[in-house]
């Protein structure tokens, strides 16, 4: 299987603090096409910074990031934005929806920006996504009028609307209760099953157990990786136990 996303010796140092803080200290990560990778670690271990570096929202201090063989760190701001628009989808802990747009328009926004001349196709794709994730009935609602779970599913729709090469998710269930978390993780699982490559940061072993592989970060370094194999719902409890056992050996 081909490698979709890869970073080598990725470092990030914040110089605004005194002394400077090394958040990432040389992380190597390869994500194969169609793979679902969960990144875990304690608070401050550099999980989110790694994701921001992979998406190009942050310029790393050192190292390289390759997406589909293209070095993102060598791109200009405009090229990087274009890559993020067309090849990367992002789901945040907070949905970060524009309050003056409906759910559908928020989902539509990146897709329409990426392909303004293919409006009809884009609309059909977006409506199909909303239908698929069970939120078509709230598509004309404002973001303040729907539940957290619906909002995060809409976030996933937004991230998928441009048919990206990789979906990055930063604690997508962090602000949700357990039933909504399950809803959202089911959506991720569906997306993965349809062949989408996913890198998800989470602190929740139950969420991480859905991934093919779990990478563990501590103090900005990768300290372990564990393959879990393909997800089966009936196997959930065993996977979670196994993962927890492994995490404990890493000091989780």
């Amino acid at each position: 299987m081909t490698v979709t996303l890869e970073c080598r010796d990725l470092t990030k140092t914040y110089t605004s603090t005194d002394p400077p803080t090394d958040v990432l200290r040389g992380v190597d990560l390869s994500v194969r096409s169609g793979e679902f990778v969960a990144v875990m670690g304690a608070s401050g271990s550099g999980k989110s910074t790694l994701l921001h570096g992979l998406s190009g929202m942050d310029r790393p201090t050192g190292g390289t990031v390759h997406l589909e063989g293209r070095d993102l760190t060598a791109l200009t701001d405009a090229q990087m934005s274009r890559a993020r628009l067309t090849r990367i989808g992002f789901v945040f802990q907070q949905a970060h929806f524009l309050p003056n747009l409906s759910i559908r328009d928020n989902v539509l926004l990146p897709a329409l920006k990426a392909a303004p001349r293919e409006q009809r196709a884009v609309l059909e794709r977006v409506d199909a996504l909303l239908e698929r994730f069970g939120i078509a009935h709230v598509r004309d609602h404002a973001s303040t009028q729907v539940s957290g779970g619906q909002l995060q599913r809409a976030s996933i729709c937004r991230a998928l609307a441009t048919e990206p090469a990789v979906l990055l998710a930063d604690e997508p269930t962090g602000a949700l209760n357990s039933s909504m978390s399950r809803e959202v993780m089911d959506a991720f699982t569906d997306v993965h099953a349809a062949g989408t490559t996913i890198v998800m940061v989470t602190h929740d072993p139950a969420c991480a157990a859905r991934a093919d592989r779990v990478v563990y970060l501590r103090d900005g370094r990768e300290t372990g990786t564990r393959a879990l194999g393909p997800w089966h719902a009936e196997d959930a409890a065993r996977r979670e136990d196994e993962l927890l056992g492994w995490l404990r050996t890493l000091g989780f």
Partner: protein, 798 residues
């Protein structure tokens, strides 16, 4: 200091440091308002103090009547005896010379020149003993020896005459020369709008000068009253007495004072008006800043209220902070005003003398500053009422300043908006569509920009348009003159009739001249409801042709057109019949129209007909053939006819209005600088706060694939678009609302105008708006340029 107060101060200090840029901008806006308000108030106070002081030492008459010709002293004595309110009176004898007859020379350097360019009458007088004294820099009334002259301070200023220079007057019996011994200030004719000025010579020199010929003898009958308030009554009584000399202007004490205030107080009034606009802008910005600050601090406010600190105390922390900023702004503005006042009162000091800078000036400044500070603090208090409405739970949990009902309402509004708007089918691209949606959603906040830019464009446009109106050829119609190329004035000459014939013949024979109109100036006694009035009438073929009437039409045979002030004074309207006395004969004329005129104190009249004999002067209105240069023609005639002042109309307007136009030019330049400066400052402040508020939305856009350049471009575009709307409306407003504002100003000034048609300069109007939008754009670029290359992920964090 109590612990609570110490805590409050610590908090205020911390807050001030935290928002340094916004705070500095606030201080600057308040300081500018305070500076202008303080300067305007102080200039006004200086002017009034100086006028008061000059009036105190010089004692101008409470009522005066000018006259040319014989004076019946017995009739004047009888009149004075009948009026016990007359404390003192005398007849001042003068001899007037045209500027062209006066020359000066500096023996030390050989420098020389003449006063030919000056349009005002130069009157030679002897020093008055009882009142209406002409005073020098030391407030003394100098009495010159034979061969010495004291020159009006205006000439010291305009031509740089010095003590020791020689002044020569060309008389019919040869030149007569005096040595300049000093300069005098003239309470009666100090105003820069006054049409005459007085030179002081000795009694015997005056008698010799009058006898020498070449000058026009004139008298002023002057009265000092026990109560200046009785001047108008005396004026009426004087006008009603047929035996008294009165073929010139009659002037009261109030008119002299008003004239001083108008001519030199205009700039001060303009400053106060500009300051008022700036204060309005400052209030808008303060409201925006305070609300923005409270929204940012809402969790902190919620926490303070949760631990039991009363809303009043929390509000006081903010109020202390903004009061401190207002105080600093007012202090800085006050200091700037103190520095600016001497620069702006230089003219006042020259004409009226320097009044001692007493406590009154300081008090006026303090009151002006206190007023500005009070308005600002009250504005803050109003905006801070929000603190009391903050609900603890909403603040802590949702970070919202809104209570539940307001939150629900806002959610409903957002839902409605979300339902109504659609990105699909958007024209002009998603970025532009998003910008429009955002502008509509946050219209209340964004409205600050167009409102401020409207005010700034208005502020910049109004004085500029007033200036272009004063400088436009159309303004001639407000000076009782038609729009012609050249004007020739023939007055104060011995051989008036001969000169008139010569000049008429020369102009008629000249093939460069297309048309000549000769108007004779006569003084006619007109019957008014409260007695007879002497009215200055211009008589000629087609007199008043080409002059815009505000009511009625130009006069035909047997008709008269009156200037606005004369129509008011004679209580005559169009269609009324007036009785005119000319010697023993009287005739009736019908008022055909009313026009506006600012010349001759605004009191003129125009009649159709042949110039009658016995005119006191003639005015020639000359239209030139295609392609003839009016400047060259005027110069050639001016040289050929020494006793005639020949000027291109443009120069005439310029000279007559130069003081007013220069005041407006300075105001226009100042207003432009202030307008642009304030607009830039407000844009920077607004965007700074807006950027903080839009961070998350910007982060979201960046995350979904918008480039930083696109995101910042959107913000700059919104700024430029809103600024353009405001500046455009302001520019249009200055043109359309400028007229009514101007009408109020001119009508209240009482200078003979009721309606002044604004002649806006389209280049100034569009140029000002474009400059404002450019300033907004540059401010937006300057503020956002540092964000290029920023880590956009930080925009998504709190």
């Amino acid at each position: 200091m109590s612990p609570a107060r110490a805590l409050r101060w610590r908090q205020v200090r911390g807050d001030l440091r935290h928002d340094a840029a916004v705070n500095v901008a606030l201080v600057v806006v308040v300081a500018l308002s305070a500076c202008l308000m303080g300067t305007g108030a102080m200039v006004m106070e200086r002017l009034l103090s100086s006028v008061d002081r000059l009036f105190e030492v010089a004692q101008p008459p409470h009522f005066l009547q000018m006259h040319k010709g014989e004076v019946d002293l017995a009739a004047l004595t009888r009149f004075a005896d009948r009026h016990p309110e007359i404390e003192s009176w005398f007849v001042e004898e003068m001899v007037g010379f045209d500027g062209a007859a006066l020359a000066w020379e500096r023996p030390a350097t050989g420098a020389s020149g003449d006063l030919g360019e000056s349009l005002i009458d130069n009157l030679f007088v002897a020093q008055n003993e009882t009142f209406d004294r002409l005073v020098d820099a030391a407030d003394a009334a100098p009495v010159p020896e034979d061969g010495e002259v004291y020159v009006p301070v205006a000439y010291q200023e305009s031509i740089g005459l010095q003590v020791g220079d020689l002044l020569t007057v060309a008389t019919s019996s040869g030149p007569r020369t005096w040595e300049v011994r000093g300069f005098v200030r003239d309470a009666q004719m100090a105003s820069s709008l006054s049409s005459a000025t007085r030179f002081v010579v000795s009694e015997s020199d005056l008698a010799a000068l009058t006898a020498a010929g070449g000058g026009q003898p004139e008298v002023i009958v002057e009265y000092l009253l026990t109560d200046p308030g009785l001047a108008s009554d005396l004026e009426r009584a004087y006008a009603a007495d047929p035996a008294l000399p009165k073929n010139g202007q009659a002037v009261t004490y109030t008119m002299i004072r008003t004239l001083h205030a108008i001519s030199d107080g205009l700039a001060a009034v303009a400053l106060v008006l500009v300051a008022a606009l700036l204060i309005a802008i400052a209030l808008l910005v303060i409201r925006f800043v305070v609300r923005g600050r409270l929204e940012d601090d809402v969790r902190q406010i919620g926490a303070m209220r949760a631990i039991g600190i009363p809303a009043r105390d929390i509000g006081r922390v903010y109020l202390t902070r903004y009061s401190l900023l207002a105080a600093v702004g007012c202090a800085v503005g006050g200091a700037l005003a103190v520095l600016a006042v001497p620069l702006l009162t230089r003219g006042v000091q020259t004409h009226y003398g320097a009044a001692a800078a007493g406590g009154r000036g300081t008090l006026v400044l303090l009151v002006a500053l206190a007023a500005v500070a009070l308005v600002v603090v009250l504005g803050c208090r109003r905006a801070l009422r929000l603190v009391r409405r903050v609900e603890v739970v909403d603040a802590l949990v949702h970070g919202s300043t809104l209570d539940r009902r307001q939150s629900r309402r806002r959610a409903r509004r957002q839902a409605r908006r979300a339902r109504r708007t659609s990105l699909a089918g958007a024209r002009g691209g998603v970025t532009r569509r998003l910008a429009l949606i955002d502008l509509r959603a946050d219209a209340r906040q964004w409205s600050l920009v167009p409102v401020v830019f409207f005010l700034c464009a208005f502020l910049m446009g109004l004085p500029a348009h007033l200036l272009s109106t004063l400088e436009s050829p159309r303004f001639l119609t407000y000076m009782g003159a038609p729009q012609v190329d050249v004007r020739a004035d023939l007055q104060l000459a011995d051989d008036l009739e001969a000169l008139r014939t010569d000049l008429t013949a020369a102009l008629t024979a000249d093939d460069r001249v297309a048309d000549v109109q000769v108007h004779a100036l006569v003084l006619a006694d007109v019957e008014a409801p409260d007695g007879r009035r002497t009215v200055r009438v211009e008589v000629g073929e087609g007199a008043a042709q080409g002059i815009e009437m505000i009511d009625g039409a130009a006069p035909g045979p047997g008709e008269i057109a009156l200037s606005l002030l004369n129509a008011e004074e004679l209580q005559a309207a169009v269609g009324d019949t007036l009785t005119i006395h000319e010697g023993d004969q009287s005739r009736s004329v019908v008022v055909s129209g009313v026009y506006q005129d600012v010349t001759s104190g605004g009191k003129t009249a125009k009649m159709h007909g042949d110039p009658p004999p016995g005119a006191t002067g003639y005015t020639f209105f000359v239209d030139l053939a295609e392609g003839v240069d009016p400047v060259a023609l005027a110069a050639s005639y001016d040289e050929r006819f020494e006793d005639v002042t020949v000027l291109p109309m443009t120069a005439y307007v310029e000279q007559t209005m130069t003081h007013v136009t220069s005041a407006f030019r300075a105001t226009a330049v100042l207003a432009t600088a202030f307008g642009l400066g304030v607009a830039t400052l407000i844009t920077v402040t607004f965007l700074q706060l807006r950027l903080a508020r839009e961070r998350r939305a910007m982060g979201t856009l960046s995350a979904v694939g918008f480039s930083t350049a696109e995101i910042l471009g959107q913000l700059r575009g919104k700024t430029a678009a809103t600024a353009a709307v405001g500046a455009g409306l302001g520019a249009v407003g200055a043109v359309t609302l400028g007229g009514p504002v101007l009408d109020v100003l001119v009508a209240s000034a009482g200078v003979g105008l009721a309606h002044l048609e604004l002649a806006p300069d389209p280049w100034v109007a569009t140029g000002g708006a474009v400059a404002l939008v450019a300033a907004a754009w540059l401010a937006a670029v300057g503020l956002t340029v540092r964000l290029r290359g920023a880590s956009t992920s930080t925009w998504l964090r709190d």
